[in-house]
Symmetry: C2
Subunit: 345 residues, 2 copies
């Protein structure tokens, strides 16, 4: 459990009335949310934040987080939510600017845990250079096993020359993965099932502002597509892009960056790291001639040290994802069809 | 139960895998969300919607909906969510433009109910002139009694001459309520507790675009503040404004527009309509000299036929809300301190 300061509220746990819109709601907002999320937009104390944008091309995204357990090695539901939404904005080529925070909290949830989550959110927002400008709190009845769900929606500004869309992907493009895969999924899985490995597997939750900002500043027109490979892992993300862009993608298994810990866990559990969720890992589709420069930029950025070129886009009417195995075999990587691990994020 | 068309999915109920990010998630998006929410932004099939705004002054808001029951006379959680967020944007003086939809659905939730909710959301969005441009679906395990929660965040554009903020409210301002109070709260209460009254009490859920647009076009500088009186009812909303604007507000009990049904229910249950939640009812603070013109505009707008001048803003260091009773008595209206009815919205 992450350590946080002592709660400033009169209650040790969240009460139904904290979501009732009256005195306790106001107390929760004034004593917990405002001090941590402090900014001039929240001080407007209005139903919407009134914000200024420095451009008219905007990215808008939303994500609800229901991860179980809510605290895990490397983070908690709070920074996961902020980083997840920030990364979604970055994937549109946008500079993330403003976030909302919508809480659905179970009655009786420890105020100390809530404060810890809120504090982590504030820190993650600060690190990603975004402001949490508007919010909402609902409280639902006890003993329904929810604990807390958080929705974070976000707005970012897209500069004129940037266009990052799945349709941009074209044959010849090189596929780079920004970090070691499977860390978040395996972290949650092992934590939930009390599995212990030689070394603890830690979630990769992180915002990738530094990396994307370097890439888009240096190679604004060569980056065709960005997407974080979250639920469904690399396999689902690659299949989605192949289908939307109407291309096929060939992945080289030997090139996939995987830690010893995740590798051992996958072998033990008979799982394929291509299907395991990531959080702070992005797929980058880049023009062939700029691939090595892009790789260099990513590797010298925060969270990019393990980046690797893992494949390329090929012309094919089948819109498939293929994986070339270590022994030269080639197999189709399908999109995940069942549910490997619910409540991963 | 509202009638909807037959679901187009292979499953009768929502499966965990519908939230897994793989094939079933894609099927749900392609067969249910896209056809109803259809617009060019969703067709980008990207993590964020890339949108264009015609100004740089933006309102941004978020609201999570956990109402129980999810279907009630006059609406369901779907249109409630759209209308609630649209009204929050209107209260900032913004023209609502783009919405997000984040679903948290319980495994086993009937697909037919989901389709009905989605259809209602699409209709409410169309009516309010907004596009649902980005979304997210999470599925949580069965038998935890959730059914469905919906977060709707929204973006609107604020025209240059408009400034609607609680701080604008000043002594002398007249307080108008846009419709009959207590309908939504009493509707949910009676439905949840199987209370039957002579005539069914129907939720007032509605977006108030027509009314606000007429007001702001005709009296752009005389409208000081708008706020929908949802959770906590008029009492909490008025107290919030009094505290932020550092004024007191005097309400005339005899002027409050209340239907016979809500009146009878309140008497029966010993409840005060000032504390009962509304959905499609707004408080309007307007300059004294424009009050009767504003009232006329509101009354001739959709959902405004029962509007009434209910009070005025007075100078006072106490930042209180007073109510002048029908017999001339004067009492302090406190902000609600407990929780009258959880999961009202």
């Amino acid at each position: 459990m992450i350590e946080c300061s002592i709660p400033k509220n009169d209650f040790d746990t969240v009460q139904l009335a904290h979501g009732g819109g009256g005195k306790l709601t106001q107390q929760l907002i004034n004593n917990l949310f405002y001090p941590y999320f402090k900014n001039k937009y929240l001080e407007q104390e209005h139903d919407s934040a009134q914000i200024l944008l420095e451009g008219n091309r905007i990215a808008f995204t939303t994500d609800s987080f229901v991860v179980d357990p809510i605290f895990f090695p490397g983070g908690n539901i709070g920074d996961l939510a902020i980083n997840g939404t920030v990364n979604d904005l970055l994937c549109s080529g946008a500079k993330p600017r403003y976030l909302s925070a919508g809480f659905i909290i179970e009655e009786g949830f420890p105020m100390e845990h809530l404060e810890c989550i809120v504090k982590t959110m504030a820190e993650a927002a600060l690190k990603a250079g975004v402001a949490i400008v508007t919010g909402d709190t609902k409280v639902i009845e006890k003993n329904r096993g929810h604990q807390i769900y958080i929705n974070v929606s976000g707005i970012g500004v897209i500069e004129d020359k940037i266009t990052i869309l799945p349709n941009n992907v074209e044959p010849g493009d090189v596929v780079i993965v920004s970090g070691r895969i499977g860390e978040h999924g395996m972290c949650i899985l092992s934590k939930r099932n009390h599995l212990e490995f030689e070394s603890e597997i830690v979630s990769d939750t992180a915002s990738l502002n530094d990396m994307v900002s370097h890439l888009l500043t240096t190679l604004p027109e060569s980056i065709h597509m960005l997407r974080d490979a979250t639920r469904g892992g690399l396999s689902s993300t690659l299949n989605e892009i192949a289908q939307t862009a109407k291309v096929s993608i060939e992945i080289n298994e030997a090139a996939l960056p995987i830690s010893d810990g995740v590798n051992a866990a996958c072998e033990l559990l008979g799982m394929d790291p291509m299907y395991i969720a990531n959080e702070g890992v992005m797929l980058i589709f880049v023009k062939q001639e700029n691939a090595s420069e892009a790789l260099q930029i990513i590797r010298s950025s925060e969270h990019g040290e393990h980046a690797a070129i893992i494949g390329r886009v090929i012309e094919s009417e089948r819109n498939r994802v293929y994986q070339k195995g270590v022994f030269g075999n080639r197999r189709i990587i399908e999109m995940i069809s069942g549910e490997q691990l619910p409540r991963i994020c």
